[in-house]
């Protein structure tokens, strides 16, 4: 009997579960690195990497937020407005005065919380379709952006530029922000009480409700955390770019959804894999870098994103064993048909 007992394994190794999405993305990243090294060495030169990493970090931070929303069965297209808004706050409000930066950051964070709460109420309480609510919200955020900046933000303050773009031990600071954010989000999900409940509700809202958990509250919280992460990403982006536009978030919406899907989180909701999303962000950014180095037109780069998304979804949603069975059935039928003909 004792042999059947489960051993209480407290080995630390088991504490870190490696999801399928994570394995896939690490594999893909290694493969990509090898391909780049052999065929497009310029795309992995030190300069290229230092240019790519900050943007990968920004995308990774956004994808963490998107993962939280998607795992609750939602989708957040307000990334466009939210990132742009954060950029505009931290460039417009301080007027290039370092001493004013912290105020701008506080305003940006407060605004993010408000946006997140409104999104959450609209979607989880009132029950509005997530796409409609977040697209509408993005529009409202752009109204604020236009009101503040008339469409043209200022230069970044030197301090912010220093914080975001400085190299520490040879690695851009923004990467540390992304790593810390990833660790914190993972720790929240795996080790905090509300994070564990959050994850359980994402995995099955019905079972969460039956277990007496507050489903709506947790679903709402996802949108608030997401906004805070977009806000952080926007602030870093303003620092990295030094001369950002007012539409900086627009080009990040679809990549953010793409990397979440690549990381293995289903658009139907379920279990969320924030760390895998972050790795996927690095993958997608490097893929972009490679294509960019090859000097192919913008169209092909866009197409590459689409194909990555398509493969990502197909990888996790199509039930391949069924497809194989169908194919076998089909081919055997054809053989029979050929014989009878």
């Amino acid at each position: 009997m004792s042999s059947e007992l489960i051993q209480a394994s407290t080995k630390r190794l088991r504490a870190i579960e490696v999801s399928r999405g994570m394995k896939t993305m690490i594999g893909a990243l290694i493969a990509l690195a090898v391909i780049c090294e052999i065929f497009v060495p310029d795309s992995v030169s030190k300069g290229a990497l230092l240019g790519m990493l900050p943007f990968a970090a920004v995308l990774a931070i956004i994808s963490l937020g998107q993962t939280l929303v998607v795992q609750q069965g939602g989708i957040d297209l307000s990334v466009a407005g939210s990132v742009s808004l954060a950029v505009v706050y931290v460039t417009r409000l301080p007027q290039q005065q370092n001493s004013q930066l912290w105020k701008a950051v506080l305003v940006a964070l407060a605004s993010a919380v408000v946006v997140g709460i409104i999104n959450g109420i609209l979607i989880s309480r009132i029950g509005i379709n997530a796409i409609v609510a977040t697209l509408g919200m993005s529009s409202l955020e752009y109204a604020v952006i236009m009101a503040i900046s008339q469409g043209s933000p200022r230069r970044t303050t030197n301090l912010l530029n220093h914080i975001a773009a400085n190299l520490f031990l040879g690695i851009p600071d923004s990467v540390y922000f992304a790593v810390i954010a990833t660790v914190l989000v993972t720790l929240f999900l795996k080790r905090s009480i509300s994070g564990r409940r959050f994850e359980a509700i994402g995995a099955s809202p019905r079972a969460g409700f039956a277990a007496g958990l507050k489903v709506q509250k947790h679903q709402m919280v996802a949108y608030v955390w997401a906004q805070l992460l977009y806000c952080l990403a926007g602030i870093l982006l303003a620092g990295i770019l030094t001369q950002p536009t007012a539409y900086q978030g627009d080009s990040l919406v679809f990549p953010s959804v793409t990397v979440v899907v690549l990381g293995g989180t289903s658009l139907l909701g379920g279990r969320g894999f924030p760390a895998a999303s972050a790795v996927a962000a690095l993958f997608l950014q490097q893929l972009n870098q490679m294509v960019l180095t090859l000097n192919v037109p913008f169209g092909i780069r866009t197409l590459v994103t689409a194909i990555a998304l398509l493969i990502g979804i197909a990888l996790y949603t199509i039930r391949w064993e069924l497809v194989r069975a169908r194919y076998r059935e089909f081919t055997s039928k054809r053989k029979v048909g050929a014989v009878s003909a």
Binding site: A8, I126, E141, R206, A211, A306
Partner: protein, 825 residues
């Protein structure tokens, strides 16, 4: 044998090795009611699914009218005149009563008495269904939906009519009416198979009765030749190979611990239960008689009136949620998070006890969970194994571990041994007994009377939401429980019995809740806005401005109409904007000044061929690739945009001016394209409400499962909707050709958001099933008007964004809250 229209002989059916039917035979005769009796899981429904073609038997023959049917499909069954009224009506909530009839009944049955409407009215009146034909079915009560199903089945004068527990949701008057109609239809020669659990109904209606048990034929007889007692002995006597723990030995010191007083909701009525410490309480009854609803109320996940007292303390619903452990019957859907690990599932309700500092202490959690799992011998490779990898019995034990770890004040278990093997069953019984001995009241609901007989110290039998019997001690036997259930004659209580007259001014209420109020409201807003802008700037109403605004409306309108079609089937097409942009680029290669006529014609053909291809790709990915609508069309959005940029990195390719002039041609100030859009919207509106195609479209969006049962081809319908959406994006692209005059890859994408906004403004539901093309037309007009207004009022871009955002959110909030009573999520 012309008077036995249906003979089933030696039917066998296995489900993954478990025999559901073993060589069961049944012969039904024309002009009489044949009752089919048996406990849950006796095989009645499976047998009837075989008879109606939905289940293919492993062995046995089906003979209809003397002809042996090789392979009976649902379609063939209905052609042969076999009608089946299921326990859960297959109605389409977003369609009207009339549409629900029209979509499923061949027109020839509606020709008898003049107009189709008159025929339908007669048909409903016949069942006392006093609702307007234009009423949306979602606003009907459960009983009314059921009567609608019965009316539909009777109207086609079937040769064989199968009724599955038809009286379950009905009140007294409707039951009388139904019995009368059954009497009438058998006089016309129909054979009726009547599934029931109630002896009284058998005596009233049936001439013959057949009893099944454990998938086996137990006996068949003329009703007049058999006594109630004999029938009961045929029904009961299931063998259950399981061992039960010893029952509670009552002592005088036992105190009453649990008291439920007059608990009521929509599904159960005046339930009073009491239990002493150490007892296991059983809730018996045929599945679906209010047991699960009662348990949910006791667990606090549903509200009810009445009082629950545990250990002398009155528990509110919130207290119940926080203190009662609940094991739902649907283990995969409600009991467990299947994609999480054993540990995560088990620890869910006890996380606070592992807390150290801000975080959950992993070592403590693993140790406690492991100990608890071991204490009830859960077999799993490790605590971090996914719970979905465990057997049914072990999964149930994980649910129990969660309950145990939460230190509950009461344990509620709904069908705790469903899908659990014999060995694990005994263990689960032992665990339940152990919990009860600790002084925690345990309430177990089970449709398996034998299980309750072995396990419980006190059993309440429920029927139609009422407690009809209370059994204690020696009386707790399967026979007593079944007897109480089959002998009961109680009926469900209904707040608004169908017979009560409809609220007055039904048509006004319907209009306000209907699809045509949005256009009315939108026009009022538009006129008001127009007057205001005109007062500020007289040029606003110049024919030039009206013309240019309506040109813009035409472009958006066509795209939004396509979006509406997709939303009617419950989907969403994010790719419409890039699709329109892409088709414009395609045109910009062929339609230049000086291009030959053939080249121009070729361009238009190519545009629409590509649109059909793109739409089909979306549809196929969604239906066959099982992509969500968002996933598929988002991929298409990015991909199509990429292709556009590949074809033209920068704007280029001027569109032929003559072609542009044709497209923008006007009658007075009104563009021809807008007139076409207007007429098209009204035509589509009519078509989607009155044609079979339109009803199918809405049926799929309303309730896919019901639509499938009605024989609608879901895949075909959905894919065609996406193709049409892309084709309408093509019409939008034609408008863009003239408006932009050049192939610009950056254009088009904004139409995705705008089309969704227009559709939402027009009142189309994003849940599918209901919407209006006229609403979409007006929504497009208002959106363009607002965007145009900002320029005339000298407002900045800020206001454009603000209005666009506010419009869509406000519309979504208003429609969602006013229609919240729909009960659809």
């Amino acid at each position: 044998m012309s008077n036995s229209p249906l003979v089933l002989s030696n039917i066998s059916k296995n489900y993954s090795g478990v025999a559901a039917l073993r060589e069961v035979s049944l012969e039904v005769f024309a002009g009489e009611v044949h009752a089919l009796l048996g406990e849950n899981g006796a095989g009645k429904s499976t047998l009837m699914n075989v008879a109606s073609g939905t289940t293919v038997p492993d062995a046995g023959t089906i003979t209809v009218d003397g002809q042996v049917i090789e392979k009976l499909s649902p379609k063939l069954a209905s052609e042969l005149g076999i009608a089946f009224v299921h326990q859960h009506p297959a109605v389409l909530p977003d369609l009207t009563v009339a549409e629900n009839i029209l979509i499923s009944i061949p027109r020839k049955f509606l020709k008898s008495s003049g107009s189709a409407n008159a025929a339908m009215r007669t048909m409903l009146d016949d069942f006392g269904l006093n609702v307007d034909l234009k009423e949306r079915v979602s606003s009907l009560s459960v009983a009314q939906k059921h009567l609608l199903e019965l009316a539909k089945a009777f109207a086609i004068r079937p040769k064989i009519l199968i009724l599955d527990e038809p009286t379950a949701p009905l009140g007294q008057e409707s039951v009388d009416l139904l019995f009368d109609r059954v009497g009438r239809i058998i006089k016309e020669g129909t054979a009726v198979i009547y599934i029931t659990h109630r002896m009284a109904e058998v005596r009233t209606l049936a001439k013959r009765v057949t009893v099944l048990r454990d998938g086996k034929f137990r006996g068949s007889s003329l009703v007049s030749d058999i006594t109630d007692h004999e029938l009961l002995t045929l029904i009961v006597g299931r063998e259950l190979e399981s061992t039960f723990p010893a029952k509670h030995v009552s002592a005088s010191s036992d105190q009453e611990f649990l008291r439920v007083e007059k608990l009521s909701s929509d599904e159960f009525f005046d339930i009073s239960i009491e239990a002493k410490q150490g007892e296991i309480i059983g809730i018996s009854g045929v599945v679906g008689n209010g047991q699960s609803a009662l348990l949910r109320a006791l667990a606090g996940t549903a509200s009810a009136q009445g009082e629950v007292t545990i250990g002398g303390k009155v528990y509110t619903q919130k207290d119940l949620i926080n203190n009662v452990a609940y094991m739902p019957a649907d283990r995969h859907g409600e009991g467990l998070m299947m994609s999480l690990s054993v540990r995560e599932n088990a620890a869910l309700k006890a996380l606070h006890s592992f807390k150290s500092g801000l975080l959950v202490n992993r070592n403590r959690e693993v140790k406690t969970v492991t100990d608890s799992l071991n204490s009830i011998a859960v077999k799993t490779a490790s605590v971090d194994t996914l719970v979905s990898a465990l057997s049914g019995g072990n999964q149930q034990k994980v649910v129990m571990t969660r309950a145990l770890l939460s230190n509950p004040t009461m344990l509620i278990a709904d069908e705790p041994t469903q899908g659990v093997d014999v060995g694990a069953r005994a263990e689960i019984y032992a665990i339940l007994r152990e919990i009860a001995q600790k002084g925690i009241p345990v309430i177990v609901a089970s449709s398996d009377a034998k299980e309750l007989e072995g396990l419980c110290d006190r059993v309440y039998v429920m029927s139609r939401g009422h407690i009809v019997e209370k059994l204690e001690g020696e009386d707790i036997t399967e026979a007593e429980m079944v007897k109480a259930a089959v002998a009961s004659t109680t009926l469900i209580k209904q707040k608004s019995e169908n017979e009560t007259p409809q609220k007055k001014s039904g048509s006004i209420r319907r209009f306000i809740k209907g699809d045509f109020i949005p256009p009315v409201v939108l026009s009022i807003i538009m006129v008001g806005l127009g007057i205001y802008i005109h007062s500020k700037n007289g040029r606003y109403t110049s024919s030039f401005n009206i013309n240019s605004v309506l040109q813009l409306v035409a472009a958006l309108g066509f795209i939004a109409v396509g979006q509406t079609i997709v939303m009617l089937v419950g989907g969403m097409d994010l790719s419409v904007g890039p699709m329109a942009g892409f088709l414009l680029i395609v045109a910009s290669f062929f339609v230049h000044d000086g291009s030959k006529m053939t080249s121009i014609i070729f361009a238009f053909v190519l545009m629409f061929v590509l649109a059909v291809g793109g739409g089909a790709m979306n549809g196929v990915l969604i239906r066959y690739g099982k992509f969500t609508a968002v996933a598929a069309t988002l991929t298409a959005y990015i991909g199509i945009q990429g292709v556009s940029y590949m074809l033209r990195e920068t704007p280029g390719g001027y569109i032929n001016q003559n072609v542009s002039a044709k497209i923008t041609g006007s009658l007075g100030p009104i563009p021809v394209a807008f007139i076409i859009l207007g007429i098209g919207s009204f035509a589509l509106e009519y078509y989607v409400r009155n044609s079979q195609w339109g009803m199918r479209l809405r049926a799929v969006g309303s309730d896919e499962e019901s639509a499938r049962r009605l024989g609608i081809q879901i895949n075909k319908t959905v894919i065609s909707a996406y193709i049409l959406s892309a084709v309408f994006a093509g019409f939008g692209a034609v408008m863009l050709m003239a408006q932009l005059g050049i192939g610009d890859p950056a254009q088009g994408t904004s139409y995705t958001l705008q089309s969704i906004t227009a559709v939402v403004l027009g009142g189309t539901s994003l849940l599918g099933g209901r919407g209006s093309f006229i609403g979409t037309l007006f929504g497009s007009m208002l959106l363009i008007q607002v965007l145009n207004a900002t320029t005339f009022l000298g407002l900045s871009q800020t206001w454009q964004y603000l209005f666009q955002g506010l419009l869509v959110i406000a519309a979504a909030v208003i429609y969602t809250t006013t229609r919240a009573s729909k009960g659809k999520k």
